[in-house]
């Protein structure tokens, strides 16, 4: 009995290293091989031709320039907004603090492509709702706003990455040792001076970490550059790669791989910087265990004006996108809400979508990928997290680094790498190719909540069950599983919602027959079919929400079993 458990345990770590290693390293190796090859399918002899072609392209310098402005701009927008919100929430007496929690979580539920589309619907120069509205009121000749610019891209991407920045900054702000500030005030400094001279400098590692993470995310972003950038002929690395493989006469996967290499290298470098900074910031920010109660700054007269700003932000982030999509799905063409518009509303677009075989197929495929993919992904995550937390050997350290590697890979680059791999296998153009790609890219999302669940299960909790007379399986059933379920549920929810909305990887790997929701929505946007797009988009939100609700209910059910025993 003991010997067999030892053996399975011993085999677990290398087995997982092989699986996770395949998932994360394989696309990278194939990308490198591909970038030095003649063509997809038949590698041909070693060549540097693709690199030469890719990097001597006269438009390439402009693309790099756009990418830098786009990523840094988005990071600035997201980090400064997040800093503002985190400060207000943790350190001031602003009313309705629950709004901040909503702001930090809900936008993750709205798929990036739909968020981008809703801003196109509001601010595009020809018939954006806000533009139409302002033109009507002030009888203007031209639209005052044009979303199809670098500024527009930066604004939307910045808003999209706000939650990530907030999730990094808010705990750092809350864990901040107030005595630093108090001593500054004792020295006679004002609130503002304390903020600028003490609070912000001490938070600098966290601020930099958030800044870098947003740069990585916007470098990998495809929704905003494709929906907003491409119509305005503003290309960044991600859309440039997409252009190489998806438009023109012949898709050139070798050149895509060569371009992808620079995105990959940049991304990995930034993530290493990020990890370095977060370990630095742990040193920096002192969390004292003596029940710290941050002293609250009284906003006085600024309280309500500041709250209005927060209110507007949450409206813009959460309510507006859904509202715009729903409205657009019901009206026959873009028009400002009016009595006439309401009289012309119909379910026409919805019916069209439900009769469109490709849309139906994409609904089915995405639901399948969400449910099956998340279940498989979470199963793998359970084992990986177990090895990382409970079997602390050098090999499990390798596994840990491997499993978080994919966090730094831009989706479209991973997609190109997987393309080079799948084309050689029978998996090519099947739904399983997408499934493997999804799990590989989003594995960290499953592992994170499960490692924290395992960390929570202190070995004493299992041991005391054994001492109390519970055998191995009894302990597993009554102690380990119930404590693990919250982690499993949140891992599953994260993965399922990511999979249902997945665009970046799918745009490369999806073939006729394996269309998924986000890709179909992207096609609708390319064709300007905003009505159908909105209808399908609302269905997409509905599917993710349903999955979230079902998973949460199952989670509550499973944990309840424990407490009814009395």
């Amino acid at each position: 009995m003991r010997r067999t458990t030892l053996n399975t345990r011993a085999a677990l770590t290398p087995g997982l290293i092989i699986i996770v290693g395949f998932l994360t390293v394989c696309p990278v190796i194939m990308l490198i091989v591909g970038s030095f090859s003649e063509g997809l399918g038949d590698f041909g002899s070693f060549t540097l031709r693709k690199y030469a072609e890719a990097y001597t392209d006269p438009t390439f310098a402009g693309i790099i320039f756009n990418t830098i402005i786009f990523t840094i701009g988005s990071a600035l927008v997201a980090t400064s907004l997040a800093l503002f919100l985190a400060y207000l929430n943790t350190r001031t007496n602003i009313p309705f603090k629950f709004l901040f929690r909503i702001i930090s979580i809900i936008p993750m539920m709205i798929p990036h492509i739909l968020f981008s589309v809703s801003w196109v619907l509001l601010l595009n120069p020809s018939n954006g709702l806000i533009n139409l509205f302002l033109r009507e009121i002030f009888s203007l000749q031209n639209s005052p706003f044009n979303i199809y610019t670098l500024h527009g891209m930066i604004m939307v991407e910045g808003l999209l990455d706000l939650p990530i920045a907030y999730l990094i900054l808010s705990p750092a702000m809350a864990a901040f040792d107030v005595s630093f500030e108090e001593s500054s005030k004792v020295c006679g400094a004002s609130n503002l001076r304390t903020l600028i001279r003490v609070t912000l400098p001490i938070l600098r590692p966290a601020i930099l970490a958030s800044f870098i993470l947003v740069i990585v995310r916007s470098l990998a972003s495809f929704a905003v550059p494709s929906v907003i950038g491409m119509p305005g002929r503003i290309y960044v690395l991600a859309t440039h790669i997409y252009r190489i493989i998806a438009t023109g006469f012949a898709a050139d996967y070798g050149m895509a791989a060569a371009v992808g290499m620079s995105a990959l290298v940049a991304s990995i470098t930034l993530i290493y910087l990020y990890r370095y900074l977060t370990s630095e910031s742990e040193k920096y920010v002192t969390i004292s265990s003596r029940g710290y109660k941050p002293s609250v700054v009284d906003l006085k007269k600024a309280k309500y004006p500041l709250f209005v700003i927060v209110g507007i932000l949450s409206f813009v982030l959460i309510v507006l996108p859904v509202l715009v999509l729903f409205y657009t799905s019901l009206v026959p063409y873009s028009m400002v809400p009016s009595a006439k518009a309401f009289s012309m509303m119909s379910w026409k677009h919805w019916i069209e979508v439900l009769r469109d075989p490709i849309s139906l197929l994409s609904l089915r495929n995405s639901a399948f990928l969400g449910i099956v993919g998340a279940s498989l992904g979470v199963t793998l995550s359970v084992f990986v997290a177990y090895v990382i937390v409970k079997i602390r050997t050098r090999a499990s350290g390798v596994l840990e680094s491997l499993s978080f590697l994919s966090f730094s890979f831009p989706g479209i680059v991973v997609g190109v790498g997987f393309m080079w791999f799948f084309v050689k296998t029978p998996l090519y153009a099947t739904i399983w190719a997408l499934l493997i790609g999804y799990i590989a890219t989003y594995l960290p999302y499953g592992i994170r909540p499960l490692t924290s669940a395992f960390v929570q299960i202190h070995s004493h909790l299992e041991e005391s069950s054994r001492v109390c007379g519970g055998g191995t399986f009894y302990t597993l059933r009554r102690i380990v599983l119930p404590l693990l379920i919250p982690g499993v549920v949140s891992g599953w929810i994260l993965m399922a919602t990511m999979f249902v909305r997945e665009l970046t990887l799918s745009v490369v790997l999806s073939r006729p027959g394996t269309e998924v929701l986000a890709v179909q929505i992207f096609r609708f946007s390319e064709d300007g079919l905003w009505g159908q797009l909105s209808a399908l988009g609302i269905m997409m939100i509905f599917i993710s929400t349903t999955l979230v609700v079902i998973a949460s209910l199952i989670g509550i059910r499973l944990t309840k079993v424990e407490t009814v025993s009395q």
Partner: protein, 362 residues
């Protein structure tokens, strides 16, 4: 129920070094007593406890609980912890966070599949015993440190185990609560007439709680005795030093006279009770506790062990002064009553009763 341990060995590897956590441990723990394993961290006391309970497997040796062998490397016996019929209170308490107080305490009975009615009754009785009645539905996460400690104790007691083991159960409480709980625990355990094995590195805890103390060092048990013997008359230099403040003085036996030995040392001649180690010419170590060293008043009728020294430092700690007195080049720690008129720099005369000075044999 007693525990007998024979030739227990356990080694593990840490960064390429072999560390012997247990080295040929032979030990008999008598039934219905509070038995304490005391030692500095890393001495192997927790490993020994975990081997008794079955959470760790020794490399070789034999463990029997109440006559039943639960581990034997030679005969290939390993009884898993859940079948050893004992229970344990962990250092972290290990209260399951997803259950309420009732389910935490009822767990050992539920694992044995006892009828629900009995379970409810027994849990109620046990919670009453640890003074937590009415806490049944409190979630485990809503308990204070002291309450968690009681829940852990209740859970350990509820199934009436033969032996109960404690792994530094008071080390997570703050000083005041620790003192109160120590007293309570002593009361609980003496009322119950149960065999308790208690692991701690806190000497005061060991002295206050135990019937018997075993002092461990480097994986070995070096001395076993009742608290007073360990404190006043330990055999080992290490034990004498570990259990309390001690003045350890080396010297040579000059003569034995009238059941007292006279020892030449760096502070002069010291008289101490005669013992097998005090044949003239022997080199010995003496131990004198600071609280027995007194400042000499004029009318004290004392002939032996009188020394003159200079007060080097004097710290007021409330119930006494802690002083360091320099005699020749030897420093003696003393406790001086707070009313004494002594100041740093003074020349004073000290004495101590020869009966309070003991020879360390090892």
């Amino acid at each position: 129920m007693g525990i007998s341990i024979k030739g227990l060995n356990k080694a593990y590897f840490s960064e390429g070094n072999k560390i012997r956590a247990l080295a040929d441990v032979d030990l008999t723990i008598p039934a219905n007593q509070i038995f304490t394993l005391l030692g500095p961290s890393g001495c192997g006391k927790t490993t020994l406890l975990r081997c008794i309970v079955g959470l760790e497997t020794p490399d070789s040796g034999e463990i029997a609980i109440g006559g039943e062998t639960v581990w034997s490397s030679e005969r290939g016996i390993f009884v898993p912890p859940e079948k050893r019929g004992l229970n344990m209170v962990f250092q972290t308490y290990a209260i399951w966070p997803h259950m309420n107080v009732f389910d935490n305490v009822a767990y050992p009975l539920q694992a044995r599949k006892e009828p629900k009615k009995d379970i409810i009754q027994k849990v109620k009785k046990t919670l009453q015993f640890v003074q937590l009645e009415g806490f049944e539905n409190r979630p485990a996460t809503k308990l204070s440190g002291g309450q968690q400690q009681r829940v852990a104790l209740a859970r350990a007691l509820v199934a009436e185990p033969k032996v109960i083991l404690f792994d530094e159960p008071l080390s997570n409480l703050d000083a005041k609560l620790r003192e109160e709980t120590r007293k309570e625990l002593r009361d609980f355990l003496t009322t119950l007439k149960i065999t308790a094995v208690y692991v701690t590195h806190d000497r005061v805890e060991a002295l206050a709680l135990s019937d018997l103390i075993a002092v461990m060092k480097d994986g070995r048990i070096i001395e076993i005795g009742v608290p007073k013997k360990i404190y006043f008359d330990s055999d080992h230099r290490f034990v004498a030093d570990f259990i309390g403040r001690a003045n350890l003085i080396d010297g040579t036996v000059r003569a034995v006279d009238d059941s007292y030995a006279i020892i030449d040392s760096s502070i002069g001649a010291i008289a101490c009770p005669e013992s097998p180690d005090t044949s003239p010419g022997n080199k010995v170590s003496l131990c004198i506790r600071p609280e027995f060293i007194r400042v000499m008043a004029d009318d004290t009728p004392q002939k032996r062990n009188i020394f003159r020294g200079k007060v080097e430092s004097l710290v007021f700690v409330g119930e006494a002064y802690e002083g360091e007195i320099l005699i020749e080049d030897t420093r003696l720690f003393t406790k001086i009553e707070p009313t004494a008129r002594v100041e740093a720099g003074d020349e004073i005369t000290l004495f101590f009763d020869p009966d309070h000075c003991f020879v360390l044999s090892k």
